[in-house]
Amino acid sequence: MKIVISGAGAIGFHLAELLSKENQDITLIDRDLDVLRQADRHLDVLTVHGDVSSLEVLRQANVGDAKLFIAVTTSEATNILTSVLAKKMGAKRTIARISDVDKLHDENRQFFEKIGVDVLISPQQLAAQEIKRLIERATFTDLFEFENGKISIVGFTLDTSSPIINKTIEQVDNLDEEWKFRGVALLREHKTLIPKGSTLLQKGDHLYLSAKRESIERVKKFVGRQLKDIRRVMIVGGSSLTLITAKELEKEYSVTVVLEDEDQAKYFVSQLHRSLVVVADPCDVDALKEEGLEQMDAFIALTPNFESNIVTSLMAEEMGVYKTIALVENVNYTHISQNIGIDTIINKKLIAANSIFRFVRKGKVEAIAGLHGVSAEIIEFVVHKTNRLLNHPIKNLHFPDKSIIAGVVRGDQSFVPEGDSFLELGDKVIVLALPEAIHKLEKIFK
């Protein structure tokens, strides 16, 4: 499939990387020669140098033949313009990255579809939603929902107080008669495992469990930490991500926003209706304490300085804040931050790239790769033909070793299947797979 990506920034680059590994034909356009050179060196892609809004450059990139045109430069106007141009030139489908979240309203989406922009992606909005989900399920470090939450995969780290330490996966799966869980992935010392029934859980393991929405509450018990519902949230940093996140959160939580710039603060005040906006240096511990840092249930660091996000989050953790989330877009830091105790790292560019990635693949893909160094993907397949998939129980379907079925959504119902279960036509099957297994899986479901 021919895909043209306009803009080789963090999102464009990551996307090109993801897609080129998928054996897609990628053309990458950017104005910055250095970035393109790097792409040429590391990725199997074609690069075109020039201004993306120039028709000449778009023709040079052969946009007319593209199945998909992805505009992810930092300029919203450029992205919308080039998407419209690309569509008129013959691109099948267009995706534009935007920054103004108002454009995401349904009626506005329809309008943009009419003029030629099929999908709008806002990294900030996606990140804000991610943060909101994490706050809602504060017990977990990550949470993936499929089919509106009918099947969820949650990740959490086992500490000494967890009741499932020294139990095997099989024991955990059958811990509750009524509620089925499935341990789908395990991160142990930077290595991703697909656990077997006999795998013994250890302290420090990062376990991913799949479960139905109704069972999620039960999973919380496994975490071992004292359960707590989030009520008070402090967000530091004055970016537009902060504003969108605060807008999302202030509907349900008591939100305090701390930022440095007074003019920015005035703008925040005009936009936020329930949050308290404080003008202070986000690294000034005393100021944060004054605003009740110790009483906070969650601390979210979203300044553009990733190092200080890590440090302030650690500080908050130290003071007993239950949940800390830090914006870290430098991939090198991701690993270490997790190890030294920050609950969750948010990388809005990766989130956006992954979200676009989903549109590209045949099935729907949610990737956890990059988030915690788990090199696995969660893919949703649909059984859309009557074939041998339906004739045998799951255990006889010969799924690749490095993959595991996390759940099945059938109509309004969802379940975590057993080896003896059968699939039916129209089932949506959620599979977690290591990269090596993906190709084989796609063949099975084709």
Binding site: A265, V269, S270, L276, V277, V279, E291
Partner: protein, 488 residues
């Protein structure tokens, strides 16, 4: 350079408009078969139109630019001229013994106060009563707004006048052009008045009375054609209809406009409107319960009386169905406090207005939060928008000036009213009711009394306060400051 000629020009236009009203009214005498007073109206009309025409004619070539100074001058002087000329029909017909009485009655009308010096209203010729009601109706929406709406001559400077005559902290623009905005306001005004007149004549008022009460209700004025005011009418429906329309007249016309256009989201977005509704409901319910348990009224009468009186005073209309000062000192004091309330900004009501109370209350409450969060940026919001510090200051200064005027006015009036039974309360009440453009007061100037007994000096002073209140203080007082006459 102060553009004196344009001030004369616009005042000329105002007088032409006023004269037209007088002449237009005269033929009603024949229709109503009550020609008494027709001559004085004709004469006044001519005597208004002639100077108006001269003013207008000799300054037609004036530079049409109206800046802030001219705007304030036109509005303040315009109102004084209009008041003077509007009192002529009373002079020529000899309704009042003294010109100050006539002036007081006129200003009370134009400013929609509704305090009267007439002791026996029924004995006044019908045509003059109609003129009296009409002054309130004109003054309610504002004669300058009307002129802006009808005459294109004001063109550029319209905005300055509009702001000076219909002041308030909220923006009233419902159309990009001020003239179109003014027109729409008048359409609503005329439309609602017509509906009310029909409704009142339908439930048993004579057509004449319905017209008069229609005019004065929508203006939140309160002049009645009966000495006993609305208490004269025993049909509960009359009370309910008037209550409803007084209430509506107290709503911001921008909100009414959106209501008429069925844009409910915009209506419900108005914090002032919501506060007004909730406040009125709360007061009505409390008073209903009080009357029901303490005055041996039945429930319907308690509710009817409570809602009528509360709405009448809050909207600064000033109609009366019962004497609220007769119930208890508590209720008298409550009504005295309500004289300061006022309804929504951008309505025909007077007083301090709900929006200012709301801003001040919210801000005072937030001050506590500010004390606890020294570094936080805490701003008050109205309709979801931050109230800018400049507006905040303006509102604070307005309140201080308002209360200051009340204090000084009370001192003056208690000197004037020294031989009243309760000089102090009467003085305070008369000042509060004049500044707020309400009408009835407390003590010796209660709902069932009139202002005839006040000495002439007091009447003149109260007339001044009414103008001050109607133009929301700044527009009048600015002419008394040195800054107005200096260039720097």
């Amino acid at each position: 350079m102060f553009n004196f000629r344009i001030v004369v020009n616009v005042i000329g236009a105002l007088l032409l408009m006023l004269g037209a009203f007088m002449l237009a009214l005269a033929p009603f005498g024949w229709i109503m078969n009550s020609t008494e007073g027709i001559f004085s109206l004709f004469l006044s009309g001519l005597l208004t139109i002639v100077p108006g025409f001269l003013f207008f004619w000799f300054t037609t070539k004036a530079d049409k630019s109206i800046r802030k100074k001219e705007g304030f001058a036109i509005v303040a002087l315009g109102w004084i001229f209009v008041s003077l000329f509007s009192s002529m029909p009373y002079h020529f017909s000899g309704v009042f013994d003294h010109p100050v009485d006539a002036f007081f009655e006129t200003v009370s009308g134009l400013t929609t106060t509704g305090a009267t010096v007439l002791e026996d209203i029924e004995s006044v010729p019908q045509l003059l009563l109609l003129w009296r009601s009409l002054t309130q109706w004109i003054g309610g929406m504002g004669i300058i707004v009307l002129t802006v709406a009808i005459l294109p001559l004001l063109g550029v400077g319209g905005a300055e006048l509009f702001v000076a005559e219909a002041p308030g902290p909220t923006s009233n623009k419902i159309h990009p052009r001020i003239r179109e905005t003014a027109k729409r306001l008048w359409y609503i005004y005329v439309g609602l008045t017509a509906i009310l007149v029909l409704a009142l004549s339908f439930v048993g008022m004579t057509v004449f009375d319905a017209i008069n009460h229609g005019l004065t209700t929508m203006a939140t004025g309160g002049f009645s054609t009966k000495t006993a005011s609305i208490a004269y009418y025993e049909q509960p429906l009359v009370h309910y209809i008037i209550t409803l329309f007084m209430f509506v007249a107290g709503v911001n016309y921008t909100v009414i406009y959106f209501g008429v256009k069925l844009r409910w989201k915009r209506v419900l977005k108005s914090d002032e409107f919501k506060t007004y509704v909730i406040g009125v409901i709360a007061l009505v319910l409390s008073l209903t319960l009080y009357l029901y348990f303490n005055e041996q009224y039945d429930l319907e009468r308690s509710f009817r009386t409570a809602s009528f009186q509360i709405v009448s005073i809050i909207t600064t209309t000033g109609y009366v169905t019962e004497d609220y000062t007769s119930w208890s000192p508590l209720i008298s004091l409550l009504f005295f406090c309500l004289l300061f309330s006022g309804a929504c900004a951008g309505s025909t009501s007077g007083g301090i207005k709900v929006i200012r109370h709301l801003v001040l209350f919210k801000n005072s409450l937030l001050e506590f939060k500010r004390l606890l969060h020294a570094k936080a940026l805490i701003r008050i919001k109205i309709d979801g928008n931050v109230v800018q510090p400049r507006v905040m200051t303006h509102i604070l200064v307005f309140l201080l000036l308002y209360l200051g005027t009340f204090v000084i006015g009370s001192l003056v009036m208690s000197t004037v009213l020294y031989d009243f039974d309760e000089p102090m309360l009467s003085a305070m009440g008369s000042v509060a009711t004049s500044l707020g453009n309400v009408g009835p007061s407390i003590a010796d100037l209660g709902p069932v009394d009139n202002f005839a007994a006040i000495p002439l000096a007091g009447k003149g002073f109260l007339s001044f306060l009414m103008l001050l209140g109607r133009l929301e203080i700044f527009t009048v007082l600015i002419l008394l400051t040195p800054y107005f006459y200096r260039t720097n």
